[in-house]
Subunit: 359 residues, 2 copies
């Protein structure tokens, strides 16, 4: 084991409150116990004692490296926790979803705006994105209830879809309001990565999304994998060439993409294989762009890539692009990524409609 | 004084940590001191001791009424706090901004999509909205730094605007994921109202907003008034008739709007007067719609109405609609609402551009 490989999450031991842990095969290492015993260096009291990683995220990259470097020698003797009750790893502040795959943006433009240019004029100039609902980001394994909505009559969605995405979790001291994070400094603010399933109700989305963007067609649930994998654990390759070259505030030397093989499994069968290396916009560019207007990025913020689709049939990241039927109740979707584990969800039937009438 | 009139906020006395308070003229009543003395009934320990109202919001409407009913007799003898350091009253979970004024949606559609139908087909069927950035909602008085962004070259916005809005703060136990809040029960989840200035950079917004909606043109700052006014303190009138009638999940008997006179002041001169009673969609409809897909509304979530514009010249809620020049550095904007106080902000010059280059 090297510290670099270890992923971070939150585990509740039987009858005890949840605390932070790193995964080790079928068990986890109790980070709170290690920290209390003084074996992780000079950390603030209780940094791993709470129900999420946020206090650790807030410490920033030097502390992350310090813990990572100390862990390998502690693995043998560290207190273990069972994985029976793995919780949401992060209290998410703001959740931003980008649209960074050229292939996906082109495919969806064609489907949602037939007859017009699929890629809008701004797409190659900035990482297009929007804010999603932080309060409905759930951990892998959470059942996904089929949402109701206007399609445009009100009822359970008939077009429940998935979106295969990569997410990154922000940490470090927040930039002051009004002060952008330079693109060359952005990677230092990225703690690690998760897999993201951005569940989507296409009928609701199509009816509601103009002019202010996706809303209830997305906000019913977004699943993330339970273990946050440090950015350093993932292989890098040169990022795709951008044409036209990006504006200066988005430009770095040595742009990299993450070389993460990805797959979508539906009811036990793999239906798509792709790789995150094809994303047009890089993670540092997303963070630099998001803060380019002075917006604060707080520890615990989640950025997602948008659907990752490849250029060839069978490499698309959503059912609508794959040309497959939408999800049925009882369907189970598992997204997997090399070194990232999985994010899993099973569709449950729509609930009763809300009570109506009265004052 | 009746308890109904009192508004809630957070105050830091000199050299002490912030705690919850209610405003009383030029001072505030220390709610934490009252609660510790047992004078506010049977409340959880420390509910007013923290830096925001969220623990109190979470208790729900019965506790809000209990405190409200006890306060009038305590006013005389309650410990007072100075108003020198008034803080952000709420830790906002998710911030949703609607588009509920027919006049504003029509005006903006005309400006942003000239030559096509200004009101899109969905507008009269659902309260159109989007998620904003919770982490950049700031309290009244916070300076607003002119944002940079793609316009489409990168630089300080040349079209800095305001949006006059009414916001409401959600409380009560959250609805379980997957279970909508019925429209008839929605008002019970609304703790109170604030004024909202949704600062907007129109040049950035125009270039970026398709197809996923407003993003960096809005996310640099949103100001709210410091004192949350309980919903019961505000006068109600019958809501405007909706045509076509809304779907059943959005329909209640006795729909009401808030009769709140509003004004926009720029550098000491009132430039617009309007009233919140003209909003097409009601607050209960916004909350019922937001949760209609099963999304959770958490205590501390902020909902804003969208710009409030009237039908007559001089009653519009933004500079672009008023046909006025955009904001200059040093300009001060104050939004006022009857019983709601004010939200104030002064524009400061853009900061230095982010460092560029490097790896």
């Amino acid at each position: 084991v090297t510290g670099r490989e270890l992923s971070y999450g939150v585990v509740a031991p039987p009858g005890e409150p949840p605390r932070c842990a790193v995964r080790l095969g079928d068990e986890a290492i109790d980070l709170d116990a290690l920290a209390r015993a003084g074996r992780l260096g000079d950390l603030p009291d209780g940094v791993f004692a709470g129900p999420n990683l946020n206090p650790f995220l807030a410490l920033g990259a030097p502390a992350w490296r310090e813990v990572r470097d100390r862990l390998p020698e502690l693995v043998e003797t560290a207190p273990r926790l069972p994985l029976d009750d793995v919780r949401m790893p992060v209290a998410i502040g703001d959740y931003v979803d980008f649209y960074a795959s050229l292939e996906h943006a082109t495919n969806l433009g064609r489907l949602f705006r037939p007859g017009s240019e699929p890629l809008l004029p701004n797409w190659r100039h900035l990482p297009v994105g929007y804010h999603g609902r932080a309060g409905t980001v759930v951990v892998s394994g959470t059942p996904i209830r089929r949402p109701r909505g206007q399609r445009p009559t009100y009822g359970p969605t008939e077009q429940l879809d998935i979106e295969l995405e990569l997410g990154f979790v922000v940490g470090g001291p927040p930039n002051p309001l009004g002060e952008p994070v330079p693109v060359a400094a952005a990677a230092e603010r990225v703690f690690g990565c998760v897999l993201v399933n951005d569940w989507s109700a296409r009928d609701i989305q199509r009816w509601e999304y103009q002019p202010l963007g996706p809303f209830l067609g997305k906000s019913f649930a977004t699943s993330i994998s339970a273990w946050v994998v440090p950015l350093d654990a993932l292989a890098r390759v040169p990022a795709p060439v951008q044409d036209p070259p990006p504006l200066e505030y988005l430009r770095t030397e040595g742009d990299w993409a993450l070389d993460v093989a990805l797959e979508v499994e539906l009811n036990g069968a793999v239906i798509s294989r792709t790789n995150a290396r094809g994303l047009y916009w890089t993670f540092p560019q997303m963070l630099a762009h998001l803060t380019a207007n002075g917006a604060v990025a707080r520890p615990g913020d989640l950025f997602a890539s948008g659907t990752i689709s490849g250029a060839t049939p069978g490499s698309e990241g959503s059912l609508i692009e794959l040309g497959r039927p939408f999800l049925e109740d009882g369907d189970t979707v598992v997204l997997r990524g090399a070194s990232l584990g999985e994010v899993r969800g099973t569709v449950t039937p729509a609930g009763a409609p809300p009570r109506t009438g009265g004052r």
